[in-house]
């Protein structure tokens, strides 16, 4: 029985996640860090929350565990997993995309880009405005910070 190596990921909240190396190298960023020898203690990911990181790890695990065969069942299973995965609300989706972009996980990135594109597709400009208006309350905390920024810039 070979002992599979595990990697520790420490995130923004200070929480640590222990994952198998084979799962951890899905994100290219982490793979490069390991290659460069930065992974002796734990890999810091200061800009990713626990919620998002756990989702990402779940996705990587699923894709690593599914054997890379051309079997229809495996592919369909993976597809339905992906479909459910991106059913999250827009806020989570956007956080996810920033995290995945940083971690550089190509497959997941493409999936999320496509999901967001599908949200925009087929909408008239008015509907798009509406779509963004709805999300305003989620980001209202950002407004205060940027307000100060604008004031100091004196436009």
């Amino acid at each position: 029985m070979s002992f599979s190596k595990t990697i520790m990921l420490r995130n923004y909240d200070g929480e640590t996640f222990v994952v198998d190396e084979v799962v951890a190298v899905e994100p290219q960023t982490i793979e490069h860090m390991i290659e460069d020898g930065c992974a002796n203690t734990s890999i810091p990911l200061p800009n990713i929350t626990s919620k998002i990181l756990s989702k990402v790890i779940e996705h990587c695990k699923k894709h690593v565990e599914t054997p890379n065969s051309n079997e229809k069942d495996a592919k369909a299973d993976l597809k339905s997993f992906d479909f459910d995965f991106v059913k999250a609300d827009q806020g989570t989706l956007f956080d996810l995309i920033l995290a995945v972009n940083y971690l550089n996980i190509k497959g997941l990135l493409d999936l999320i880009y496509q999901t967001i594109a599908d949200m925009i597709k087929g909408k008239t400009p008015e509907e798009e405005e509406e779509m963004r208006r709805v999300n305003a309350w989620v980001f209202s905390c950002f407004v205060g910070v940027t307000c100060l920024y604008f004031k100091s810039k004196k436009i």
Partner: protein
């Protein structure tokens, strides 16, 4: 300047403000005045005050001045309000949309052309992102009614710049998706269409002196600009029902696309011979050519040298569809055998060949890579030739062939007599086929029976055919077999229908040609 002027009627001095400490107090006064003005809650009082003010002026020129001033200040205030509103919206949008520009561009690159244009219309941030060339790498301007004009095409091609990969242009009936190998003809005359405003095509045409609101023959002329830079990397070009495109214009467009891999032409008034010549000359890398004639049954100009030239200039062709053309057997043979990498062939609704081109096709490695052959509604396709071909398949030739479609609304032709038609695929040893080639898909849809066919199938035979079909459809997990005895839908007029359908071909003298081969 006018902003500095007081709203009250006491000060009439219109001198430029001195750059002095006094200007600070001026500004403070103005801020205060504007603030109190904007907080006037009774709007009627503004009206009455204004009227009183006008009346208090004795001279007419004074009245005029005052009115002009009011209008001027009013418009300045309006502009200031709009500007602030835009800024606020932009700021709000920037907060709500957390993706940085590079990721937004990546999302936009996945959108279809219309959605990108809509996104660009929502705010200036999106407009900037949507201006990135990668958002227009695939230009899809297919509409159900003609509403795109040359200007739109040119500006989108310009925006795409070096990223341009694919252009789809033209008019398609709304219910059809332009699936390759579909049995429904995609040729669609825009004369039948009216756009949403109720303006018919003919009305649009008669607008003199204005830029045409629909696509004209030079719609792709921008591809040739700047020494052909825009068209240089184009890989895919699909053109549907662009009525005004002609041979010369198409040839000019193709000459600007040396990297073209995929060309689809449906319903253009261009001829097969000239098109193949243009493609041979300008697009040597081409891999897929799908051409559906706009005048089915009347394009008979294909010449042998053209086929020869085509086969030698375009060796990379893997998919070839020529629908609605006159193709003699020897030309079909040259095409199918000469194109060494050919995988998918579709000669549906083409005529004149009997299937003799299939004879000995497999010899000397011909048709080695053939996977799909579609010969739907080929008027003169003979049952006997199909039988021989299937024999070759069962003997082990055409190893890659997995799909054959010989459906025919008029049935297959009998040997020797064009008017005798065969309506069943019973000549094909189906059991053996499914045993030896379990992945094979055979499609053979014929109308149910015929009044012309002398050899009427006996009730017993008919039943056995039907039962065979059900037997095979039940255990077709990998191998699928579609044989439906479907109603032709016009049984009552069948006799007449048969005769009139041959009239088109009677006009040409080519009947003699195919009878003698």
């Amino acid at each position: 300047m006018a902003k500095r002027t007081c709203c009250s009627d006491t000060s009439t001095a219109v001198s430029p403000p001195p750059i002095s400490p006094e200007s600070q107090t001026d500004r403070f006064n103005n801020d205060f005045l504007l603030d109190s003005f904007l907080h006037v809650s009774d709007f009627d009082s503004i009206n009455t005050s204004f009227d009183t003010l006008i009346e208090s002026r004795s001279s007419d020129s004074d009245k005029h001045d005052l009115i002009q001033r009011a209008l001027h200040i009013g418009s300045i205030l309006l502009e200031a309000g709009k500007r602030s509103d835009r800024k606020r919206s932009l700021f709000h949008n920037a907060v709500v949309w957390p993706l940085p520009p590079d990721l937004t561009i990546k999302v936009f690159a996945l959108l279809d052309t219309q959605s990108v244009c809509y996104a660009a219309a929502t705010c200036s941030f999106f407009q900037k992102c949507a201006a990135d060339p990668s958002c227009f790498a695939s230009i899809d301007l297919i509409t159900s009614v003609p509403k795109v004009n040359n200007g739109v095409v040119s500006s989108l091609i310009r925006r795409a710049g070096n990223a341009l990969q694919s252009i789809k242009l033209g008019v398609l009936p709304p219910s059809t998706s332009p699936l390759f190998c579909s049995s429904e003809p995609l040729v669609y005359s825009i004369r039948n269409s009216t756009d949403a405003s109720g303006v018919s095509w003919n009305d649009k045409r008669s607008r003199q002196g204005k830029e045409s609101s629909i696509l004209t023959r030079s719609c792709l002329s921008y591809l040739s600009e700047n020494g052909g830079a825009p068209g240089a990397r184009l890989r895919r070009l699909h053109l549907f029902n662009i009525e005004r495109m002609d041979n010369a214009a198409l040839s000019a467009s193709l000459s600007a696309c040396p990297s073209l891999l995929d060309l689809e032409i449906v319903g253009l008034h261009v001829e097969l011979r000239q098109t193949l010549e243009s493609v041979s000359k300008h697009c040597p890398l081409i891999e897929r050519l799908a051409f559906e004639s706009s005048k089915t049954g009347r394009d008979d100009g294909l010449k042998h040298p053209t086929c020869y030239e085509f086969v030698h200039s375009c060796p990379n062709i893997t998919t070839l569809a020529l629908k609605g053309f006159k193709l003699h057997d020897y030309k079909a043979r040259m095409l199918v055998k000469g194109l060494r990498k050919l995988k998918i062939v579709d000669f549906s609704t083409s005529y004149s060949f009997t299937g003799a081109f299939l004879k000995n096709l497999g010899a000397n490695g011909g048709g080695k890579h053939l996977e799909v052959m579609i010969l739907r509604d080929c008027m003169h396709l003979k049952e006997i030739e199909v039988e021989h071909f299937m024999g070759a398949v069962l003997a082990g030739e055409f190893e890659c062939l997995r799909h054959l479609d010989i459906s025919n609304r008029e049935g297959l032709a009998s040997d020797g007599d064009w008017f005798r038609r065969c309506y069943s695929a019973s000549f094909i040893p189906i059991k053996q086929l499914l045993e030896e080639r379990p992945n094979f898909c055979l499609v053979a849809e014929f109308p149910k029976g015929s009044y012309i066919d002398v050899e009427q199938p006996t009730p017993g035979d008919l039943n056995s055919d039907v039962s065979l079909a059900s037997q095979f459809s039940s255990h077709a997990s990998d191998g699928s077999f579609l044989m439906s005895a479907s109603d032709s839908g016009s049984d009552s007029g069948n006799e007449d229908g048969q005769e009139t359908s041959f009239l088109t071909y009677d006009e040409s003298s080519d009947e003699i040609d195919f009878l003698s081969t």
